[in-house]
């Protein structure tokens, strides 16, 4: 897969959630160019083409959308969001926050930092599937991304 043509960057430490998400996106043919990273540190390296991804890809070609979990080891979603949204070019990339709880004290903070959407992952599978499907349809197909 050409790492410069990534459509979806999924940042999710829970591999079962990731698997369910990917499965749902695949079901609707939206996971062809999907990269899954398991923590914030890796996500930042991927986005900014540093560390393990240095030389592998062009930082000037960000993914179409970023699905970002908040609770993650090492570097959490908030920090990742902050870095993306304070970058001159990358800040145009839509970031959809995924979280397990509507109790999350960081919802407001996420919006303030420039999150484009905030989705609570429902426990019930149908709800979860529906949410992922809608999200993919909207951000990948309906939404007009910034012109590169």
């Amino acid at each position: 897969m050409n790492q410069n043509l990534v459509e979806v960057l999924l940042v999710e430490d829970n591999r079962y959630d990731a698997e369910l998400t990917i499965r749902e996106l695949k079901k609707h043919n939206m996971a062809n160019n999907l990269v899954h990273v398991k923590d914030g540190e890796t996500a930042l390296e991927f986005i900014f083409a540093t560390g393990r991804f240095a030389g592998n890809r062009d930082a000037g070609c960000p993914p179409k959308i970023i699905l970002l979990d908040i609770q993650m080891p090492k570097v959490n979603g908030i920090e990742v969001l902050q870095k993306i949204k304070s970058h001159e070019i990358l800040k145009a990339t839509p970031v959809i926050i995924l979280t397990s709880s509507k109790e999350d004290p960081d919802i407001r903070k996420c919006y303030e930092l420039g999150a484009n959407s905030y989705i609570v992952k429902p426990v019930n599978f149908e709800g979860f599937a529906e949410a992922i499907k809608n999200l993919g349809f909207y951000w990948l197909l309906t939404n007009q991304p910034p012109v590169r």
Binding site: Y16, L20, R23, S100, S101, K121, V123, F125, F128
Partner: protein, 596 residues
């Protein structure tokens, strides 16, 4: 009076009381002593009057006796006897002797009379005797046959005369009388001596015993007649508006009475002077007393004011102002006690504030921990549940043809239970969130709220098989979001538990109970056993099995929590299989809405 007195301050009351006390004591004492002194002075004065009158009486009695003796002796001289017996040769000698008896001008007449009192020889001051008919006066004078006597006073014009009559006896035979008339005209020098004797303010009067003529020893004066009682004790009379006290004594050897009188004023002057001094002294004493009491009450009220100011300061929250009263009396003790009280209150307050601060910090920490806990509960517990459900679903979708009926049932059970756990977590979190959430009260239109909730619960299909009886509802005071949860929980319960009835009926209404509005939701569902109604509102307590009616056992606990946080109460009544009625009361709204 009593109320008026109570309005006075302590500083005014004390001197007023002491002033009244001192004044009454002073008035009583001075009056009693004045009365005593007055009566003593009067007694002394009266005794002095009687004494004086007695002295004067005996003095004049003596001089009267002297004059009588002289007259009798004079009457016994030979020329007089011989002349009366008819020896006219004795005429010249007798006349000379008579003339000699008129030693000064006050002796106006000296004469010899026969036994019949007709004058036989007379020596007289013609200017006076011509104006007075001494002969006729002599006729009415009482005369003893043998005793010489001083006659009554007779007034003529502004002069007073009296007679001295001595019988002339020859060989034990009364042959005639020697009669002398005298003008009562004591010379000023003698008067002055008398005045010195009896006092300048004293009034000395002589008069006849029958009170017919009175004289001040020079001229006739008007004076009251006397009776025998007046001679025994002092009496009072009025002279030119002045009260006089007087004593009178008869003068022996005469027909006279001597009377001495003083103005009562002079007698009482000592007592009055005493009273004046007592009053003056009393005023001074009262003034001193009032000043002392004023000082004393000031010394009491001043520290009291200090205490009051300090107490006000303490009330206002200023604990720094201690009272400085350096005294060893009760006020000092009070101030010390007050200061130690303020110190204790301050310490207690500081302790309390410290405790409150500590507790607040602890509480905030606990709250944060709880928040963190509920966050991780909602976050970390949900993820595995999501995985279980997700992968079970994947199993059912991807391996449907490899699972038999039992396999499908088992995956269904797994999914159902996991979803239930999700509901439990959600409800539990909602319940705990309620404990921490603040309540913002507004006025809620209960009719709209109930209609909205029913609409939501029935998916807009109110005309379904449930018979809704909704009475007009009063407005309620409460948090609109939170209170809505109460209606949602209670109405959905009513729907849930009456769904097995063929003709479910739900009635919603309100009534007033002692100023509180009570809302009720009544259904004709399965109801519950009242034996367990105390468990109804506890968390996780259910009176029906999950198979009968699904539920987490948190809904009513949440209702109870919300209503109690609004200051109301929730309770329920039921008969098994007949239905249940849930009531909740809300304080704060008194009137039912206008359309009721």
């Amino acid at each position: 009076m009593g109320n008026w007195f109570k309005t006075l301050s302590l500083r005014q009351r004390l001197p007023l009381l002491v002033g009244i006390l001192l004044l009454s004591i002073m008035i009583t004492f001075s009056w009693i002593s004045y009365i005593g002194i007055k009566s003593a002075v009067m007694k002394t004065g009266e005794a002095r009057l009687i004494n004086l009158a007695g002295q004067l009486s005996s003095m004049y009695s003596q001089s009267a006796q002297t004059i009588l003796t002289n007259t009798r002796t004079a009457g016994a001289q030979a020329p007089f006897i011989k002349y009366i017996q008819g020896d006219t040769t004795m005429g010249t000698q007798a006349r000379e002797a008579l003339k000699k008896l008129r030693s000064d001008t006050t002796w106006v007449v000296a004469e010899l009379t026969g036994v019949d009192r007709r004058p036989v020889l007379r020596s007289e001051n013609k200017s006076i005797s011509s104006r007075l008919n001494f002969d006729s006066l002599l006729q009415v004078s009482a005369l003893g046959d043998s005793a010489a006597s001083v006659g009554k006073f007779h007034s003529h014009g502004d002069s007073v005369y009296y007679s001295i009559i001595a019988p002339i006896i020859e060989k034990k035979q009364l042959i005639g009388y020697l009669v002398r008339w005298r003008l009562q005209m004591t010379n000023p020098k003698s008067l002055e001596q008398i005045s010195q004797l009896i006092g300048t303010n004293a009034r000395l009067l002589f008069g006849n015993k029958d009170g017919s003529v009175w004289t001040d020893l020079r001229h006739p004066v008007l004076f009251r007649p006397l009776d025998t009682a007046d001679l025994r004790g002092p009496f009072e009379y009025n002279k030119e508006g002045k009260n006089m006290i007087a004593a009178a004594q008869p003068i022996t050897h005469t027909q006279w009475v001597v009377s001495v009188s003083f103005p009562k004023q002079i007698v009482l002057e000592t007592a009055n002077r005493f009273l004046k001094w007592v009053v003056l002294l009393g005023i001074v004493l009262i003034a001193i007393g009032l000043f002392a009491v004023w000082l004393m009450s000031r010394s009491i009220t001043k520290p009291l004011n200090k205490l009051q100011l300090a107490a006000s300061a303490v009330t206002g929250g200023d604990y720094s102002s201690l009272v400085e009263i350096n005294r060893n009396d009760e006020l000092g003790t009070l101030a010390a006690a007050f200061n130690s009280m303020v110190n204790q209150v301050r310490n207690a307050k500081e302790d309390l504030e410290q405790k409150v601060t500590d507790r607040t910090v602890q509480l905030e920490m606990a709250n944060k921990e709880l928040e963190a806990f509920s966050y991780s509960v909602s976050h970390d517990l949900r993820a595995p549940l999501r995985a279980i459900i997700g992968f079970t679903t994947m199993l059912r979708e991807d391996y449907a043809n490899q699972l038999d009926e039992e396999g499908n049932r088992i995956t269904g059970v797994i999914k159902w239970n996991t979803e239930k756990m999700g509901h439990l977590i959600d409800d539990l979190l909602a319940f705990f969130r309620m404990s921490r959430q603040g309540i913002k009260k507004t006025t809620i239109n209960s009719d709209e709220m109930v209609a909205g909730v029913i609409n939501e619960l029935t998916d807009g299909n109110i005309t379904g098989n449930i018979e809704w009886i909704i009475h007009p509802l009063p407005k309620a005071e409460g948090d609109i979001n939170i209170l809505r949860q109460v209606w949602v929980n209670l109405i959905s319960n009513a729907v849930k538990y009456s769904r097995k009835n063929e003709r479910p009926r739900i009635e919603i209404g309100a009534f007033d109970n002692q100023g509180q509005t009570v809302f009720f939701i009544k259904d004709n569902g399965v109801g519950f056993d009242e034996l367990y109604k105390n468990k109804l509102f506890n968390v996780f307590q259910r009176l029906h099995s999950d198979e009968e009616f699904e539920g987490t056992g948190i809904g009513l606990a949440l209702v109870e929590k919300i209503i109690s946080r609004h200051g109301g109460k929730v309770w329920a009544e039921s008969v098994v299989d007949k239905g249940a009625t849930f009531y909740f009361s809300l304080p704060g709204q008194k009137q039912l809405s206008a359309d009721q």
